[in-house]
Every structure is written in C-alpha cells, then in structure tokens.
C-alpha cells in the first residue's frame, strides 16, 4: 500500500491514517442508521404482506416490471462504475476519476428519469393511492396498501438516489477542476459506500415490489 493518503490532517487527529479510519467508520455507522430508517418501512411491508398475501400478489402484478428490471440493471451498472471510480481515485488518475464519476451520476440520473416515466404511467393507470385510486383486483383496499408502501419506499429511495447523484456530480467537478482528491481518496471511498448502499436497498426493493406476485 504505497498510496497512504497525504490529506491535510485535521487538528483532532494524530495522523492521516487515524483520520481515514475514523471517517470510514463514521460512514459505516451512518449506513447502519440508514438501514434502520428503511427498516421501519420494510417491517411495514413484511407485516402487511403476511396479513394479506393474496392482495399483495395481485397488486404486485400491476407494477411495471419492465421499468423495474431496466432500472435494476442501470443501478447495478452504476455501482460497478462507482467501484472503478474508487479505484481510479486510489491510483490518483484524476481524469479517469472525473469521467467515471460523471458516468455514475448519469446512470443515477437515468434511473430517476425512468422512474419518473414509470410513476407517470402509474398515475395515469390510477395506481396512485388516494381518492382516484383504481385497481381491478379482488381486494382493492389492501392492494392500495401495497401501493402506499410502493410509493413510500421507492419515493424515499429515489430521494436517496437524488442526493447521491448531486454529491457524485459535485465530487466529479471538484476532481476535474481542483484535483481535489489527489492523495486523498477517502471522500471518494465514502461516496462509493453510500452509493452501493443505495444500490443494495434497490436490490431488496426490486423483488419485493415487482416479483412478489409473479413467481406463481
């Protein structure tokens, strides 16, 4: 490991290594709180799917699985590119880093755009819960509960994607314009952790939402 970071060490730390370890651990602790934050919604999903398995399976068949599948691919690829970006930062390849970050951010944006079209289709089909909600199933009340959870969970996830895209774009600019991460790749490392977390949440959401009713 010749690439020990030479970042400016803040006054509370003894050396760069301590600073790096602290920052990395801080990110993991933050992701633990994020997991619990999503956990509340996943618990709600689990409870209601256990109560109303039929209604959830039927409702799930009304989701637009093509959009969901494409988005899964988009997000997984973006995570791969992010992993390369982390590597590029460690190797001090400034140009490559900026490009890889921009690609990641673009894929994140693509995810949001596709999600937006999906939402629009669903609204036009009456799948937004509320007074105009309309669905052809045997148990529309609990199908609506499925869609409450769907909108909530994907909405909170999309918010996290949006924050991620903004941060990644900002970091790409900093890398390009100021060479901000030369010998100081910890921030890119942590950004990568966050982005992979957002990706992993989607990996759980995808089967729960789109595939719940399709295996039979």
């Amino acid at each position: 490991m010749p690439e020990i970071a030479l970042a400016p060490v803040e006054h509370q730390f003894e050396n760069a290594e301590q600073q790096r370890e602290a920052a990395t651990m801080g990110m993991w602790v933050f992701l633990a709180t994020e997991a619990l934050f999503f956990g509340g919604m996943f618990l709600g999903y689990t409870a209601y799917r256990t109560y109303y398995p039929e209604a959830f399976a039927e409702a799930s068949r009304h989701t637009l699985v093509a959009f969901g599948s494409i988005n899964t691919a988009v997000l997984l690829i973006s995570s791969t590119v992010m992993a390369f970006a982390v590597r590029a930062a460690r190797m001090n390849r400034r140009g490559l880093l900026s490009i890889l970050l921009l690609v990641t951010a673009s894929l994140g944006t693509a995810f949001l755009v596709i999600k937006g079209f999906e939402y629009a289709r669903e609204i036009s089909e009456g799948l937004l819960p509320g007074p105009k909600f309309h669905i052809e199933t045997s148990d529309p009340v609990h199908a609506e509960m499925f869609f409450y959870l769907y909108w909530l969970m994907t909405g909170v996830h999309a918010l996290h994607v949006t924050i991620g895209v903004a941060l990644i774009g900002f970091f790409a600019l900093r890398a390009w314009l100021f060479d901000a991460f030369r010998d100081h790749d910890t921030p890119i490392d942590l950004l990568g952790l966050y982005w992979h977390f957002v990706d992993v949440v989607w990996v759980f959401l995808f089967p729960l939402i789109y595939l719940a009713g399709r295996h039979s």
């Binding site: 934050f37 509340g40 509960m145």
Partner: protein, 552 residues
C-alpha cells in the same frame, strides 16, 4: 520615569491562562465553534431552557390536580399540558441531557483526545437540535398538541386537533441531531483513544456513553420513519396505520416502542455511568467488578431492544408475545441489579465523604432501585393489566427518569462544574438543594404509586374526591422539588463569576480530565497523554481531611 515604565511593562502580560472560554469571546466564535467543550455549553443552555418549559407545564398540571374538579384548566388544555411536558422533557431534555452536555465535554478528555472525531458534525447536531426545538416551540405556541408524547394512531393521524405535524417534524429533526451525536461518540471511542487507553481502561462513564450511542444510532431512525409515516398519514391520508384504509394501528405502537423503550435506556445509561464515577471518587475506592459494570451497560443496551412489547400488554397483541416480552423485561433487571450491587460493594469499607455530587449519587441508587423494582411489577402481565395507564406507571418511570437521570445529571454537573468553569459552587447551598430535591421528589411521586394502585388513571384533569389527599401531598412535594431546581440555577450562575477558584483537581479524582487545568485549554492536553493505569486508582487511605486540604 524609566523605572515606572519598567515596572508597568510586565503587569498587563500577567498570566491569564488561555482556556477554551477566553480563547475567543465573540458571539460568532460561540455559534460557529467546533470545540466539543463549547458545544457542550451551548447544549447546556439550550436544554436548561427546555427544562423550564417542560417544568412550567408540569407546574400547571400539579396545580390543576390540587382539587378533584377541573377548576384551573379545561380538559383540552390539560391534554396539551401533559403532551408538552412529555415531548419537551423526553426529547429536548432527558435524551440530550447527560450525553450532549457532559458527554460532549468529557468524552474526548476522558480518553485523552483533543476533540471528538467529527467536530463539524458535532456543531451540526446542536443546530439540528435547536431547529427541532424551534418546530416544537412553534407547535406549542400556535395551539399545542393533545395526543400525549406517544402520538398513538389513529388518534394522532386522524382525529387530534392541534399542530401534530409541526411537533412530529420537530422531533424528527432533533432526532437527526441525536444520531449525529451518537455517531460521533461511537467513532470517537473507537478511534480517538490515547496510546495505552485500552477498552478495559476506559472510565465507566465512557462505556455508558458508548452503549447509549449505539442505541441512539440504531433506534432513532426507526422513530424518524415512524413519525414521518404518521405525519404523512395526517397530511395526505397515507393509510399505513389507519384501520379504515387497511392499516394496523398496532404497527405504529410496535415501531414507536421499538424506539421509545430503548430510549428509556438512552436516558438512564449515561446516568449510571456518572454514578460509577462519583461513587468511586467519594468512596476513594476502585470500582468493584469493573468488567461486570461495563458489560452490564452493553447487556442493558442489547436487552433494551427486545422488550418494547411490554408497553402493549393490553393492546391486543398476542398473549404469547406478551409472555416473551414479560420474561425479557425481567431479564433487564439482571444487569441493572449488577450495577446497583457493585456500587454498594464499592462503598463497602470505602472512605466515604458526602459532598454534593455524592449526595446525588446516593440518591440515584436508592431512587433507581425503587423505580427499577416497580418496573418488575409492571413487567408482570397480570399486575400490569391492573395498573396499566394509572399513576403507578407515572410514578415508576419518574423514579427512573427524574429520580435517576435528573439526579445523575445534577450530580455530574456539580462534580465537573469546577472542571467546566474553573470555580467551585457553594457547598452548603448545593447540599440544601440536593436534599430538597430528594425530599421533594419522594413527596411528589411516592403518593402516585398509591394513587395508581388505588386506580387513579393518568392523563385526566379531574378525579374522584377520595384521591385528593394524596394529590395534595404530591403537589406540595412538587413545589419543594421546584425550589430545589431553582437553587442550582441561581448559585451555579453566581459561582461562574464569584465561586472559589477550583484548581485542576479539587476532588483528587483520577481520570485524564483532571490532569489538565480548569477550565481546560482549547486542545485539552498540551501533549497527548500516555495511559498506563486503570481509571480508578484511588487510594482508600486518602481521607476527608486531605480532600479538604485540596480545596484550600
């Protein structure tokens, strides 16, 4: 002429030590500080203000309860008063109290660090706390909330009047301040310890802050999402908890108590850490069974996550779930009792002196024991059905929260006051305050055990006339308690300017925080300390006289 100049020259330079207090003195230097000690003081001022708000609500409630009729406030106002009291005291006083004030001040010093790991996040946590507080105060001023601090659905989400959403937003935002503090403490404890400061040499106060932080980080986000879902239900009719839309109100209670029961341990664990420090210092003895006391903190934190269902014994949850939760709740008593027994064993054959902090620590042990044992009554399924939602519950958790945590907070404040300010508080006034708080507290809350056992329900502003005597006793106690709280507010402020100079270590205590000047310099230590001894290397032969000599 020349001699005069020569003589005048050295005087102005004369030694005013550079401390974190006088290093810079502009208002901006306080509001933008990243120094953990200054942030601690920002928190201290803020939570004192919130304590006064919560206390004012309690005062009005106790006044109303002087008579069986509703003659002072209407029922609606009373509902709002107990909601304000609960919300403000829980989220804006008790949860932040010891961690954000004394934890922020002491944690880095106790482990030999210059600051916490993330000083900017530390400052941000205070702004989040104040932002959340602003929403809460707005909610109170614009008409209040009448749901109780528990916000049970569907009442809160559908039927309640008042500014539920603003209040929930306030708690949501303040919650992220809690998470930031917890995150900072965890990373600081792991990564910022001075050379030689192994886990088994950590002061027990650090252990308690560490375990508290784990609860803060893992439980608070669940509260955040729960209150967010409740607010969304109220604002947009999202029906997660609404039975008429297919939702289940019980899910709200599960999620709420998954946070709020561990939150009880957020409130008591730091107090236990404080008591471990105070008992050892004023008994001049090493703590009895260090590893057990430390491990008990971890055990309480872990078990604390598994007992939430004991708040829901009468909520129609499955009887088998109730039995499991009952057994698990009993198990929390084991680590709690380990602590109490070990403190008692530490006192045994110690050279005990009764300075004010010690009075609070001893008060804590007694009151916490009563609070804890009555908790076992409530953890028993059958007894809980009888006393559920009565004053028995109120008395039980006030023995823990006020008799435990507030006593510990005040004890800690007195113990470390000389470190924080460099000045001693006036001892005899402080003892008077400690004794009136102890007496006032018991007079306020002991009658409530009896009231609850006799069947007086909580959250009503009128009651049957036969309960009046006990209620009058309780209100009388509350006024003594209030006096006890106002005394420190006065003399601590006075001592800031006029107290006796304390010196670096007035208690002859061990611990790294006592090796630096009082008040400490900005970076705490001139050179990073190297730790070779355990935290409580007290000499039992050190006598009261020696301690007094240290004061002189």
């Amino acid at each position: 002429m020349t001699t005069a100049t020569l003589q005048a020259e050295p005087q102005p330079v004369a030694r005013v030590a550079r401390t974190y207090l006088n290093e810079r003195t502009t208002i901006a230097s306080w509001l933008l500080t990243t120094d953990h000690k200054r942030i601690a003081l920002l928190y201290m001022v803020s939570i004192t203000l919130f304590f006064l708000i919560g206390g004012a609500a309690a005062t009005l409630m106790r006044l109303e309860l002087l008579t069986p009729q509703g003659d002072l406030v209407a029922s609606d106002t009373y509902n709002k008063l107990f909601t304000i009291h609960g919300v403000v005291m829980v989220w804006f006083f008790l949860i932040p109290s010891i961690p954000t004030v004394l934890g922020n001040f002491l944690l880095p010093m106790m482990i030999g660090a210059r600051d916490v790991a993330f000083p900017k996040i530390n400052l941000a946590s205070w702004y989040l706390f104040m932002g959340g507080g602003a929403f809460a105060v707005f909610s109170i001023l614009s008409g209040g909330v009448d749901t109780g601090w528990t916000f049970y659905t569907p009442y809160s989400s559908t039927y309640a009047n008042g500014h539920v959403i603003a209040m929930a937003t306030g708690i949501f935002i303040a919650g992220f301040g809690s998470i930031a503090t917890g995150l900072n403490f965890i990373v600081t404890t792991h990564k910022m310890r001075a050379p030689g400061m192994t886990w088994m040499k950590l002061p027990l106060f650090v252990w308690s802050l560490y375990t508290t932080s784990i609860i803060l980080v893992l439980a608070t986000p669940v509260l955040a999402i729960t209150l967010a879902l409740m607010a969304l239900e109220r604002a947009f009719g999202v029906g997660i908890f609404n039975p008429s839309l297919g939702g289940d109100p019980l899910l709200f209670q599960h999620l709420f108590w998954f946070y709020s029961h561990p939150a009880v341990y957020i409130m008591i664990l730091p107090g236990m850490g404080v008591v471990s420090e105070l008992i050892t210092c004023f008994a001049r003895k090493k703590i009895f069974g260090y590893q057990f006391v430390a491990a008990a903190s971890v055990a309480i934190a872990v078990l604390g996550f598994l007992v939430w269902g004991h708040h829901m014994f009468v909520s129609s949850q499955s009887i088998y779930a109730g039995m499991i939760f009952s057994v698990l709740s009993f198990m929390v008593a084991i680590p709690s009792a380990i602590k109490v027994f070990n403190w008692t064993a530490t006192l045994y054959k110690g050279s005990i002196s009764f300075h004010t902090p010690m009075l609070y620590a001893l008060g804590f042990i007694g009151l916490f024991t009563i609070g804890g044992l009555t908790g076992l009554f409530l953890a028993s399924l059958a007894v809980d059905v009888h006393v559920h939602d009565t004053y028995f519950v109120i008395a039980h958790f006030h023995y823990i929260m006020v008799g435990g945590m507030v006593m510990a907070y005040l004890g800690a404040l007195h113990f470390w006051w000389p470190k924080i300010t460099g000045r001693m508080y006036p001892e005899w006034l402080a003892k008077l305050a400690a004794l009136s708080i102890f007496a006032g507290f018991n007079l306020t809350f002991f009658p409530q055990f009896i009231l609850g056992y006799l069947g007086m329900p909580r959250r009503y502003h009128v009651y049957a006339p036969e309960f009046q005597v006990l209620n009058v006793l309780s209100t009388a106690g509350a006024s003594i308690l209030a006096l006890g709280y106002f005394l420190p507010l006065g003399y601590l402020l006075w001592s800031w300017k006029y107290g006796k100079i304390a010196g670096p270590n007035p208690w002859r205590a061990t611990g790294l925080e006592w090796t630096t000047p009082s008040p400490p310099p900005k970076d705490n230590f001139d050179t990073t300390p190297i730790v070779t001894e355990g935290p409580y290397e007290y000499d039992p032969r050190a006598t009261e006289a020696e301690l007094r000599a240290a004061h002189a």
